[in-house]
């Protein structure tokens, strides 16, 4: 069953017959169709090598589709000029499995860095970084370095950094992949909270428990194809569907 988007809302993301073939010939995505309305919370599930990260790289225009079109907020990414990339990326908050924090900067500086590179004034940087750290519950860790923090705390800093420009869309590639289940669950709560504040969240994950419990929209991909798109699915059903296809 493929659920079409609610057309009363303009979709924030729309993939139309998207194919991606890497230079070495790997066909990572095949004819992917996907529509994500604003405010959605979507899990992208699938086995390792299914094409989840590829889809995310296409969404942040790290890669271009070989065929097909991707629209985000009405802009076609394949046609976007290189000089427009930075302003596009400011609309998207990115979170990774390996956090990607700068080890020489404190938690506060890591968050502030995202604003500094945009040339924001010191006052603005201070206030907004402080707010972002408060949202993720790290107000007491401003001056702590990444190596002095737990994985969960580091991921919170990364989330604060992704939030600091108030992006419409948060894209996360296996954000709980390096965390123990309890910590992973806390991080997931944080994403839910962010979603409730209005940001659209698209998350690739392996964490079947979380997917099963949260009953959010689940898009399963297998071998580069969308095999299931479920409004309130679970990991097992999604994978069962992919098993059926195989």
């Amino acid at each position: 069953m493929v659920l079409t988007a609610d057309f009363s809302q303009r979709p924030l993301i729309s993939l139309q017959h998207v194919w991606k073939r890497y230079a070495n010939g790997t066909e990572a995505l095949r004819d992917v169709e996907l529509t994500v309305p604003e405010g959605d919370f979507l899990f992208l599930v699938g086995a390792s090598g299914a094409g989840k990260s590829t889809l995310i790289r296409l969404l942040v225009r790290e890669e271009k589709p070989t065929k097909g079109k991707i629209f985000v907020d009405g802009q076609e990414l394949g046609r976007m000029k290189r000089r427009h990339l930075p302003s596009y990326r400011r609309k998207v908050g990115l979170v990774f499995q390996d956090f990607k924090l700068l080890p020489r900067l404190t938690a506060f500086e890591n968050v502030a860095f995202a604003l500094r590179v945009l040339g924001e004034a010191g006052r603005v940087v201070q206030a907004r970084s402080k707010d972002a750290l408060e949202v993720v519950g790290l107000s007491n860790k401003h001056d702590t370095y990444p190596r002095e923090m737990s994985g969960g705390e580091q991921q919170r800093v990364a989330i604060a950094r992704a939030l600091v420009h108030s992006p419409r869309l948060i894209v996360a590639d296996e954000p709980t992949g390096n965390l123990d289940p309890a910590t992973g669950w806390e991080i997931m709560q944080l994403f839910l909270q962010i979603n409730q504040r209005g940001s659209t969240v698209l998350m690739a994950t392996h964490n079947r428990d979380i997917v099963d419990v949260l009953r959010r929209r689940v898009v399963a991909i297998d071998g580069g194809q969308v095999v299931r798109d479920d409004r309130a699915g679970g990991y097992h059903e999604a994978l069962a569907a992919s098993a059926l296809r195989a």
């Binding site: 990607k100 590179v117 040339g119 004034a121």
Partner: protein, 298 residues
């Protein structure tokens, strides 16, 4: 305001980046210093040679026409007027037999011979200063056709010598330019490779900058500044060395090569300083610009 913050950020990260890979940065600075020193020596030698050549040029652009003893003075004045009205001629002066002798005797080099001279064997002379070195041959031809000239030794013009001087100076100029060009190319290449190292050291930072939406030139700026910093630092060091060595060097060779009019030119020091520093900054900027275009893509 925003620009100022960007500049501060770039300066700060350039400085940190320079010292983060201190070994590479300092090695590059040392190499570029060496190269700029060589380039500076090239400039100094070129300038000094140009000075020497200019003196030769000034000397050879004057030809001296010996007047036959039996030439009436009016013929001489007529020819003098003819030369004066020639646009290629800058000046003409007449030296009578007596004056020629007096001048000959006044030169201490000729002291021995002068004592043995009986009467006045010297010819009167017309000294003609020609504007362009290339026109000297034509004026010489004119003088040789003049019937008042001494038949045995009409002028002191040495055509082949002048032609050779001109060719030599052209070659020296060309060689200087080629050497400078090669040296600068090598420096640019070295700076480019330092930038490659710096980019590698900062790859995580670059990745984070990209993902939070920093513009391409915001990411590249600090590296370009780092290149300029390397170039200017190397230029300053090279200049210091050159200035310390210039005077003693000239003094030393002045006494060895007394026949070459080698000179210390304080006016050239300012020019040299400007050239070496600007060259350092430019090659730093160019090397890092190329490096960054190749290695930093957003």
């Amino acid at each position: 305001m925003k620009l100022w913050r960007h500049l501060l950020f770039a300066l700060n990260s350039a400085w940190q980046s320079f010292w983060r890979s201190a070994a590479v940065s300092l090695a590059a600075t040392a190499t570029v210093t060496l190269i700029l020193t060589m380039a500076g020596i090239n400039l100094l030698v070129g300038h000094t040679l140009a000075g020497v050549l200019d003196q030769y040029r000034a000397r050879v652009s004057v030809i001296s026409i010996s007047v036959a003893d039996d030439t009436p003075l009016t013929t001489v004045t007529d020819f003098e007027d003819q030369l004066r009205s020639d646009p290629r001629v800058v000046g003409v002066s007449y030296l009578s037999k007596d004056e020629a002798l007096a001048r000959f005797q006044a030169d201490p080099v000729n002291a021995d011979i002068a004592r043995q001279i009986e009467g006045n064997p010297l010819a009167a002379k017309l000294e003609v200063r020609v504007g362009k070195l290339a026109d000297v041959a034509a004026i010489d031809a004119l003088a040789r056709q003049w019937r008042g000239a001494d038949r045995n030794d009409p002028t002191d013009y040495q055509g082949e010598f002048i032609a050779r001087m001109l060719r030599l100076s052209a070659w020296l100029n060309l060689a200087g330019v080629v050497i400078l060009f090669v040296l600068l190319l090598i420096s640019i290449f070295i700076v480019m490779n330092t930038i490659r190292t710096a980019v590698y050291h900062r790859r995580h930072e670059i990745e984070v900058m990209k993902l939070v939406g920093a513009t391409e030139w915001f990411v590249r700026g600090p590296f370009v500044l780092e290149g300029i910093l390397t170039g200017v630092l190397a230029g300053g060091l090279a200049l210091g060395g050159l200035l310390l060595a210039y005077r003693p060097f000239v003094d030393r060779f002045h006494s060895d090569l007394f026949f070459v009019p080698l000179g210390y030119d304080p006016a050239f020091v300012g020019e040299l300083a400007r050239d070496v520093l600007v060259a350092g900054a430019l090659l730093g900027a160019l090397g890092s610009y190329i490096g960054v275009r190749r290695f930093v893509r957003v």
